[in-house]
């Protein structure tokens, strides 16, 4: 067991998989000699050499297209798109190419690749370098979508993603890179499509993803100590496949549902979870499900503004308290 940052967990996760399988290759902008703009790939170039860890031009379409062509013909590429906002310039691959090739070819074409990207706000970068785009990806049949919240999950879910035979979008949260957590020694391999109950409780279920997970845990602690409200916190971890059993099981126990989403309001993943719970567990609910999200606006750059729009532990706690006590 060692304490590791989320950033170093990315390095360890990639290294674990590259050491295991020579067909795992890694490409992206500034990822090799520079070690990544977030320093989340430092040392990989030195460890695995220039044939396996490759710097690319600023050509997001070429990065994802090349990853796909390599995946179709036998490699297991990990491609980095520096900021998830840049998905918009290579969205053809994410929306049209990776996820449809197997289906359109009636199962002939395989696309086992991972796209890693820096997602989310908190860095005061403004509206084009701060978005949470998990909902852009979740809506496309054929993709898998993963977003870890802890260093241990980074390694385990990254390993599961690399070993998965389908295209996986792996969303790392930029604000979590410096955060630390305990990580066991040795190989870690997790399972896609599994949510985790991080805190057990009986009064309400809070479903959260990535940076919203530690904020929800903090909110749950406040609710317990200040108001005696006992919340269960579910780290959704994987949007596709979605572990609805864990979520429905938790709602069946607590009878209240809150989702905490960093994405803007419309069509966020929480809406899908609320819809599933409404369909399948309506009579388990003691009150309306509530979505806590960033408002439907582009993200502002200034710290004082950005801090207000993202769900905070205080806003989460206050929303839960108000709804439970009203």
């Amino acid at each position: 067991m060692a304490e590791l940052t989320y950033r170093d967990a990315v390095i360890r996760g990639i290294a674990q998989e590259m050491s295991r399988d020579p067909d795992v290759v890694f490409l992206g902008e500034d990822v090799a000699k520079a070690g990544g703009v977030f320093k989340a790939t430092v040392g990989l170039y030195e460890q695995f050499g220039p044939l396996r860890v490759r710097d690319t031009p600023i050509s997001e379409q070429a990065i994802l297209g090349a990853a796909m062509g390599a995946a179709m013909t036998g490699l297991k590429p990990i491609a980095e798109i520096m900021f998830s906002d840049f998905f918009a310039v290579c969205f053809d691959y994410i929306a049209n190419e990776f996820p449809k090739s197997r289906y359109m070819s009636n199962g002939q074409v395989k696309c086992p690749l991972v796209v890693r990207t820096g997602n989310g706000a908190g860095s005061r970068f403004g509206a084009q370098h701060s978005q949470s785009v998990e909902n852009w990806c979740m809506m496309i049949p054929g993709l898998k979508v993963v977003a870890p919240s802890s260093p241990r999950d980074v390694i385990g879910l990254l390993a599961a993603s690399v070993r998965d035979p389908d295209p996986v979008i792996f969303l790392e949260h930029k604000s979590l890179y410096p955060t630390k957590g305990e990580v066991p020694d040795g190989e870690i391999v997790d399972t896609l499509g599994t949510a985790k109950v991080l805190r057990s409780g009986k009064d309400a279920t809070i479903c959260a993803l990535a940076l919203m997970v530690p904020r929800s845990l903090e909110a749950a602690e406040k609710l317990k100590t200040q108001h005696g409200i006992d919340c269960e916190v579910v780290d959704v971890r994987s949007l596709v496949p979605l572990d609805t059993q864990t979520i429905l099981g938790s709602v069946g126990k607590t009878h209240r549902l809150f989702t905490v989403e960093e994405n803007p309001r419309l069509c966020g993943w929480g809406a899908e979870i609320v819809s599933i719970v409404a369909d399948e567990a309506f009579y388990d609910l003691d009150g309306p499900p509530v979505r806590i999200t960033t408002p439907h606006i582009p993200l502002p750059a200034a710290d004082i503004l950005e801090d207000i729009v993202l769900p905070t532990p205080d806003r989460i706690a206050e929303t839960v308290r108000r709804n439970l006590q009203s």
Binding site: A62, R102, N106, K144, D164, P241, L242
Partner: protein, 344 residues
């Protein structure tokens, strides 16, 4: 069959080079006839409302597909556009499989799940037909990267139209392939029109691909895309370069499509006489004359024509008799487990 004397005469008379050999020439001719007959049939079946959806024909462009396929080895990979019937057939995919997909029958290449614009046959090295302009150039780079990384000797060949040269992915892929020295060949079929608009109306240089080659440190290669011999030789040079580790090639083939962009397009935008002028340089006409020049007996040529016609006739009947795809394939192969489950 041609004698040595015939060959010598043909060479002397036309200035033609007999480097290709009779066997290869008969193969190139046959491939062109297969494409011509199958595409013409696809058009006829469309008029009978038996080809559904859209279709983009390569009538008039047969020499490009035949010339490149003739220079490929087993294991080489083709990446095509939505105008991909020709390149799929050229790799030896059965006519019935192609027509079956166009007719959206269960005997189609992808059982009707892909359609005319997405013909794919991995077993034949046809790694897909891509309907988003430019998308497959970077993908071909990736397949070539795998060959380079693993020390495989196969080459990836990416076919696209003149319109593709103005989209970003074209330029990203060309630069990427050149910087990484990838074994990939980019083949631009310049048929003068993007969809409806002449490429020259919207492009800063006269030759949309060839005039861009220097920007990526590549040789300017502009060839007659209606002469399968010319295409075959250019292809061979590019394959040699790719297999020797010398990197990518960009080849612009001048050609012309006889039909509109897609089945919905009567091509009324073409100036009068243009089509007729191009038909004087019809690739199959050119090649029949070439074979005769080299002393191939007329009977050999007409036998090929008849054989191909029968293959296409038989395929047509088989497709007409084939059932539509079963409904239970609707939700198969979304994910690698064979299904579509996005939740537990």
């Amino acid at each position: 069959m041609a004698t040595a004397k015939d060959r010598a005469q043909a060479k002397a008379g036309s200035g033609l080079n007999d480097d290709i050999g009779e066997q290869k020439r008969l193969e190139l001719y046959r491939t062109q006839v297969v494409i011509r007959e199958a595409e013409q049939r696809a058009y006829d079946l469309f008029l009978q409302n038996l080809v559904k959806g859209t279709s983009h024909l390569s009538l008039g462009q047969e020499a490009v597909a035949a010339g490149f396929a003739g220079a490929m080895k087993p294991g080489d990979l083709s990446f095509c556009t939505y105008r991909g019937h020709a390149h799929t057939l050229a790799r030896g995919v059965p006519v019935e499989k192609v027509l079956g997909e166009l007719m959206q029958r269960d005997n189609g290449l992808m059982r009707g799940k892909g359609g005319s614009m997405h013909l794919t046959s991995v077993d034949h090295g046809v790694m897909g037909s891509y309907a988003i302009i430019g998308a497959h150039l970077p993908i071909a780079c990736g397949a070539a990267w795998r060959a380079q990384y693993k020390g495989d000797k196969d080459v990836s060949v990416c076919f696209f139209g003149d319109g593709t040269t103005n989209i970003g992915a074209f330029h990203e892929a060309l630069n990427f392939a050149a910087v990484w020295k990838l074994p990939v060949i980019f083949v631009c079929e310049n048929n003068l029109y993007m969809e409806y608009t002449p490429i020259s109306d919207v492009t800063a240089v006269p030759q949309p691909a060839a005039d861009r080659a220097s920007a990526y440190g590549l040789e300017r290669i502009l060839i007659d895309g209606n002469d399968a011999d010319v295409v075959y030789r250019a292809a061979q040079n590019a394959f040699e370069r790719a297999r020797a580790g010398e990197g990518p090639s960009l080849i612009e083939c001048l050609t012309y499509r006889y039909s509109g962009h897609s089945r919905a397009d009567p091509a009324k935008y073409r100036p009068e006489g243009e089509l007729d002028r191009w038909k004087l340089r019809d690739p199959i006409k050119i090649y029949r004359e070439r074979l005769l020049q080299f002393g191939v007996a007329e009977k050999v040529i007409t036998d090929i024509d008849a054989q191909v016609r029968k293959i296409v006739d038989d395929a047509t009947e088989a497709c007409k008799a084939a059932p539509p795809p079963p409904l239970d394939i609707i939700a198969t192969d979304v994910y690698a487990d064979g299904g579509w489950a996005w939740r537990n």
